[in-house]
Amino acid sequence: MKASRFNIGSKGLLFTFLLCLLMVALFLADIALGSVKIPLGEVVSILSGEEGEGKAWETIIWNIRFPKAITALLAGIGLSLGGLQMQTLFRNPLAGPSVLGITAGGSLGVALITLTSGSALGMIGMAGGGIFGSWGAVLASVIGSASVLLIVLAVSLKVRDNVTLLIIGLMVGNITISMVSIWQYFSHPEKIQDYLLWTFGNLGGVTGVQLPVLGGVVMVAVLLSFTLSGGLNGMLLGEDHARSLGFNVARVRVLVIIFTSLMAGAVTAFCGPIGFVGVAVPHLARMTYNTADHFILIPATCLLGGTLMLGCDVVANWPGSESTLPISAVTALIGSPVVIWVILRRRSKGAFS
């Protein structure tokens, strides 16, 4: 099993190099684009530490666009890696990081504080929102995700079968969605709009202390996920076969769930729900690197995920002044054809077939 671990061949190396270049280019592009037109030359000089013309531009680039680009990277990496692990765990090509109800739980938490203020439940939420400012929604999302996750984890300890776990995750997700619908039905239009804005996803809202927190959580989970590479490879063989080879299947399953929840939960808490990237990118990685080996797939997914999310954010900002597209819509528009393409060209090496 230890034979051709990191061997991706010279073509693979070239591709990886080009991909890195693309990522840097998109990172720059993401910073250069926005509703205020700043010439590219100015962007570069401000980034390299010189004073820009007029304080406004410097402030825009360092306080608004740079954090947004970093957030895009983190979101792309976190969601894609979460998707990869979920797809391997459930051996299902359509699985994504939200499959265990994490996103649904986050929505439930945010809906609680946004839609129900005025009722007893909402009072708790309002206090959080007012005192903690923007942390209110983040905490609500985390608590919501964690609650749903605890339910799913509790069930996972009793269930040996991954398919059952998947279905339970989906059903719990549905329950939260219906609760949110009921709250929406009884809410003022203003509150519904507030909640709706959250569901569009927003990469630009991670400010101040929040960015290091998001970065820390995601990167820690990513690094820890690397250690699971062997275990994930084993899961591809099927649980019984993996067990017979000596893998601790239960341990791998729990760790995968924890790491994915950390990454997807953090991204959802800070950025709102962003879909499709988590489902599409692992397939892109499998196809371009032509492998099912997680030692290669994990870094590949991170690289591709970050690049793709940056690309989506660039597309979202393209319309230019005064109108940006919601990021969730852009990822769905780009992610869906990828998923369709995958299904039409099922050549993913070794996985799921």
């Binding site: 509703s35 205020v36 306080n63 608004i64 400012g133 923007s134 927003n202 005064e322 393409w341």
Partner: protein, 387 residues
Amino acid sequence: MGNLNFLSGTCRTYLLLTFLILLFGCDEREDKVSRNSNSAKKPGRQESISFMYAKRINIEEKNSGYQVDVFSDKDTMTYRLLPKEQLGGKPDGNIIGIPVDRFACLSSTHVGMLSALDQRQLIKGVSGFDHVYDKEVKSGVSKGDIAELAIHGKVNVERVLEQGPDILMSNGLSSLDPAKKRLLNQAGIPVILNMDWKENHPLGKAEWVKFIGLLTGKFQQARSLFQKTRQAYNELSNKVVSKGRPMVICNLNRKGSWFVPGGNSYMARFLEDAGADYPWKENKQTGGLKTSLEDVYQKGLNADYWLNPGRASSLAEIAAKDDRLTKIAAFQNGKVYNNTKRMREEGGNDYWESGVVRPDLHLADLVKILHPEVLPKHRLIYYEKLE
């Protein structure tokens, strides 16, 4: 190779469909005022009740009553006002018997105007207890004399029918679809559209008090109230003409967008008349203009004053919401004011009640903030400084 061609064709169709859908879905242009508003100004009619600033209403004497035309963006609503004795039988949807005894109204401005004319006792229904500022009206709701007509922002027809007002006045935003209107009309309750909220001049909004006056038999009071208001407003506005203009920004960002008053909106007009420099004054929109944090940084990072930052009641709250807002000069100099001084905890705000009938007072507040030396003795009524 065959595979590739198939995919290109599908790709192209998909992209085309997507762009078409995006194109048709993204139209955000403001509705233009209907042509009727211009046709109403033809000479030759009998003009006994004239409006100098309000553009969305027109009243003329007809036979023994009045004809009132209200212009929304889509069409013109025409109402006939007749003395009650002449009504004979159930009034149809657009015929109103004056003076009105039982007034149901759904908006704060309506409450404000009725209070200004000292006609609170006519109010029999409001949208909700939480939205009202006026103390007497609120106590009327608590006692049960005044009904709450809306649930979660949507008008409840059964409650209106139960309360049995002579008219229901709406601003067009309370989800009164034609079916509900028909039900009410059949029960003898005309529904009147009030478009004061879309007037883009502060005096234009205030001038609608004349209509309320006509409905309640207090037209003379309404007219003289407006005269005084207009005079005070214009006098004050002239005092600041020669002063320097500090830069002012308004509102707050929300999830990536920042809606500022359009250059042709009533707030922009207020700022202009109060001697402010408004970064978006060249803009032509009469409502809110969608910008972003970046745009406000670009245009307003050095703003001298900041008004109405959402629901914030302290500088710390603004910083907690988004620490990038602390970079704005007005924030750093502590020159942030919110229109929450006369506001109830549940949400009723006098800024939207008496503030609309008395734009001269609102203007005085703005002048006090921007050019304090012009009004040394004035104390802020609707605005408070955030600490």
